[in-house]
Subunit: 310 residues, 2 copies
């Protein structure tokens, strides 16, 4: 066993990304199926994928995401907010796979800023990673956004996640794009244009996010009556949905100020424009980098490195 | 030929409903496929369905809905708003099928109350029918709502349709119900409960329609954290979507006052509750009755009955 070597994993609903790490270096990377697309048990899938990595003598593995949900490997109960890195480290669930210690990071639950229940799994690791990548976020109150299938608007105060608010923006876009009359007749290759996106943001800016459902139908009517192209229409649809998500944030957070985006670069760019339209300014952190930084900090204890935990 | 006998039809995207009429009586009724589900040409489908009705000697047929769209039998260009029954009568498109005169009612286009383009096909006939069923709607300014796959909020002034606003509420509900994580694990037989619906309306009332995307995710989180039943969750989802549609109407129409609902009785009841939550009161007209009344008024000219037109 080499105590400097370990396996990190981000195992979500639709994708598994595994890293073989030595210290802060990535020696190898490997992708696998998400927990909703497994053909063997989670344990067997994991062992098959890391098979030859075992020869390097990793001291253990640490995994975040839906792997710790009811539909994953083993359920790691949600930790309540407020939650710091120290709080999450205490709640890491420890199991073993063929002699290899495996740590599973729990998700978070909270009463969100609208007074409703809310949950996340996987994003907590990215958020805590972002705090390592930009330590200024560890002091004071900050708004961080993780755009994606389910966008997560997160409030961090003095290094702890105090609450968050989820909106299924990416999922709604995908459903409307694939199945609705708004995109009827458009092939799967049609990609939203920048001009269409800007037009969608502008319409939300003029009318306000409360009228999102009514602006959505313009996606169709502008194609029928004004000859809007498919690419512009899909950009417009995206601009309406993301624009409404950003504009609504002012209703519960107040003035947006500086917002940190954590996600894929293309999505960060789209959300950056929407948040700018809603009066905020943004800094962006790559989502994959944030996961690695988060897994790193959660694999450490006060006095020792991850491998000693295992 | 019997001049008192004619064929009325409501031919939408997913359904065709045909009526054999004598004066104001329905002699027979027959259902067929919507224009998106045809296996033969629209003309052939129509002739096959009305085949034995020809023996009664109908003077002609009059059809409304998507039959007059690009994906229908023949395109009847949209009539612009404002549009009265007289305006629509002038724009009826006349064709012939195997010697039988067929009139196709055009849809409407408008610049909607949000300044965007909008269209309807079929609903214009129901609206003009509602004005015949409740003649008080012919004087003054009134708000009428046709709930459904695409809800149509319509302003009628002194008997003319002056504008309308579409929101794809029913379509969005169906997509989220069938494909999204909000309904994950719920079988197709789970039906939304009244208690869940009331809870959805209440959440929109507390938070306002701008936060609809963020309240949507509570549908999932309440199942995960609070043990909300599937039936209550689907009622909640429906309450959020319909509640936000109704609450947003105040933003562009002002105080709602008395709103006339035109639709299926179950949907009318749901929208009635949502409009009541948003400060309005409602009267309901059955959608099928409104279609028949609308086809009746559009088949008449100033001086003569429909059959003479043919």
């Amino acid at each position: 066993m080499d105590p400097s070597i370990s396996i990190f994993g981000d195992w979500g609903t639709s994708r598994l990304r595994l890293y073989l790490r030595q210290g802060k270096s990535v020696l190898d990377r490997r992708d696998g199926p998400g927990v909703s697309a497994l053909t063997t048990s989670p344990e067997q899938t994991f062992l098959d994928l890391v098979g030859d990595w075992r020869e390097a003598g990793p001291s253990g593995a640490i995994l975040c995401g839906m792997v710790g949900s009811r539909i994953g490997w083993v359920e790691a109960p949600y930790a309540p907010c407020p939650a710091s890195a120290a709080d999450l480290r205490e709640r890491v669930l420890k199991i073993e796979a063929d002699g290899l210690p495996v740590s599973i990071i729990p998700g978070l639950s909270c009463v969100n800023p609208l007074g409703g229940p809310d949950v996340m799994r996987g994003e907590e690791t990215q958020i805590l990673g972002a705090l390592e990548l930009d330590p200024a976020l560890k002091r004071g109150r900050h708004l961080l956004v993780l755009p994606g299938t389910h966008s997560k608007w997160t409030v961090v105060e003095d290094g702890a996640i105090t609450g968050f608010l989820t909106a299924p923006v990416g999922e709604t876009f995908a459903l409307l794009r694939q199945h609705s009359t708004l995109a009827a007749g458009l092939g799967p290759d049609v990609v939203g244009s920048d001009a269409g996106y800007a037009m969608g943001l502008a319409r939300i800016g003029e009318q306000g996010p409360a009228l999102l459902p009514h602006l959505l139908f313009e996606t169709r009517a502008r194609q029928l009556l004004n000859g809007l192209s498919g690419g512009d229409a899909m950009g417009f649809l995206s601009g309406l949905l993301i624009g409404a998500d950003a504009a609504a944030a002012r209703r519960w957070f107040g003035e947006l100020g500086r917002v940190t985006l954590i996600g894929a670069p293309a999505l960060n760019t789209l959300y950056g424009q929407a948040i700018s339209s809603a009066g905020g300014e943004t800094a962006a952190i790559d989502g994959d980098s944030a996961v690695l930084a988060g897994l790193t900090t959660l694999s450490q204890t006060k006095n020792s490195d991850f491998h000693v935990l295992a």
